[in-house]
């Protein structure tokens, strides 16, 4: 239990997926202008991440058993792309309201490094199924937390007077640096809490 709490807290706070591991930077910078779009994107990412972990875990076992581990990257990216397509089509057909609010973000996620990243990370850390799911959940929540915090920061920056060269992306990146800085405050948290 302690181990799982440590994995979860590490993924959300100390090794935040976006702010410390730099995965999913594109949506973090691109879709974080408003809180509600940031929320929609994050929920879609969490959903696809969890689904990808469930599907790729047995596939990876199979690949390793067949001595085909080198095919991981090719197989995973195709499985994720197919999965996203499948989810999109299913939502469109059976749950149109949910599709309206989440579906539009799904194609953006296929080539999102956060999804492939979390799958590869689970393997390189040698996590079992439960630990993989916990780590994926933590990564997703970490993404959500970072997106929401950053959307708040950006809304406040909207009307500020920024030097010309820094307008647009540079000021966004500097704001991200400060947001990331605040997460450094958590760095000793896990050791402190769980010994």
């Amino acid at each position: 239990m302690k181990e799982y709490i440590a994995i979860l807290a590490t993924a959300i706070l100390t090794q935040n997926f976006v702010l410390a591991k730099f995965l999913g930077i594109c949506p973090f910078l691109g879709v974080s202008k408003k809180v509600n779009t940031a929320l929609g994107m994050s929920v879609a990412v969490i959903f696809v991440m969890l689904l990808s972990t469930v599907v790729t875990y047995p596939i990876n076992q199979l690949l390793v058993a067949q001595d085909l581990a080198f095919l991981q990257t090719v197989v995973f990216i195709l499985v994720i792309a197919a999965l996203v397509q499948l989810v999109e089509t299913t939502l469109k057909k059976f749950l149109p309201p949910l599709y309206e609010s989440l579906g539009i973000y799904l194609p953006l996620i296929t080539t999102n490094c956060a999804v492939l990243g979390v799958v590869l990370l689970n393997i390189s850390e040698g996590y079992g199924f439960a630990a993989s799911m916990i780590n994926t959940l933590g990564a997703g929540i970490g993404f959500l937390v970072a997106m929401l915090l950053f959307a708040g920061v950006r809304q406040r920056m909207e009307n500020s007077d920024i030097p010309k060269a820094f307008q647009g992306l540079p000021s966004t990146l500097i704001a991200a640096a400060i947001t990331s800085l605040s997460f450094l405050g958590f760095s000793r948290l896990i050791e402190g809490m769980l010994g």
Binding site: L23, I25, C26, L108, F166, G168
Partner: protein, 231 residues
Amino acid sequence: MKSIKKENLLHELTKGFLKENPVLRLVLGTCPTLAVSTSVESAIGMGLAATAVLLFSNMLISALRKVIPDKVRIPAYITIIAALVTAVQLLVKAYLPALDQSLGIYLPLITVNCIILGRADGFANRHSVAASALDGIGMGIGFTAALLAMSAIREVLGAGTFYGISLFGENYTPMLIFILPPGGFFVYGLLTAAANAIARKKKAPIKESFGCEGCPSAAGCAGCSSKEVLE
């Protein structure tokens, strides 16, 4: 006639260096840029690995551009890129195990580096093999150069070393923050600000919003066509 063509090919090669630098001007490939620029050594390794993938993926996709049906082009490109990344990954594992260690999961993640898919869908699928190869090399060099600049700043300030060689002697206390994640965002912000300032002086267009226009999946993405979502 011949000289015009030659000039164009030269342009395909050099445009990636500065004018259309993928990292600083087109703002693509941000994840690896931020993640591996903590040391010059891993930045060069990442830059060269991505350049190799970019060169071969551009050539292959350009050669196959008349064979791949338009509707399934993105999955086809991703498969080609993933296969090339796997080849590079195996080579790095075999001959440069230390680099493999320092790049970690960011090496297989070259697959989802937007620069590569972006060049495939934005350039290679409508240009000749030669032009695509030069474009790939040029973009790769631009990516490597931007990574090198960023990692040099971060390693020198944050660790007091360059390519692992100590610069300031033992009494120097490095500013650790520069090799920590916030330093990555900060240095990237400053570099893009500098690139914007230069571009403004030269009256070149500046990428104002970080939206869909640079995203390789923009064409097939419903999110981008409904504007209210991203604006």
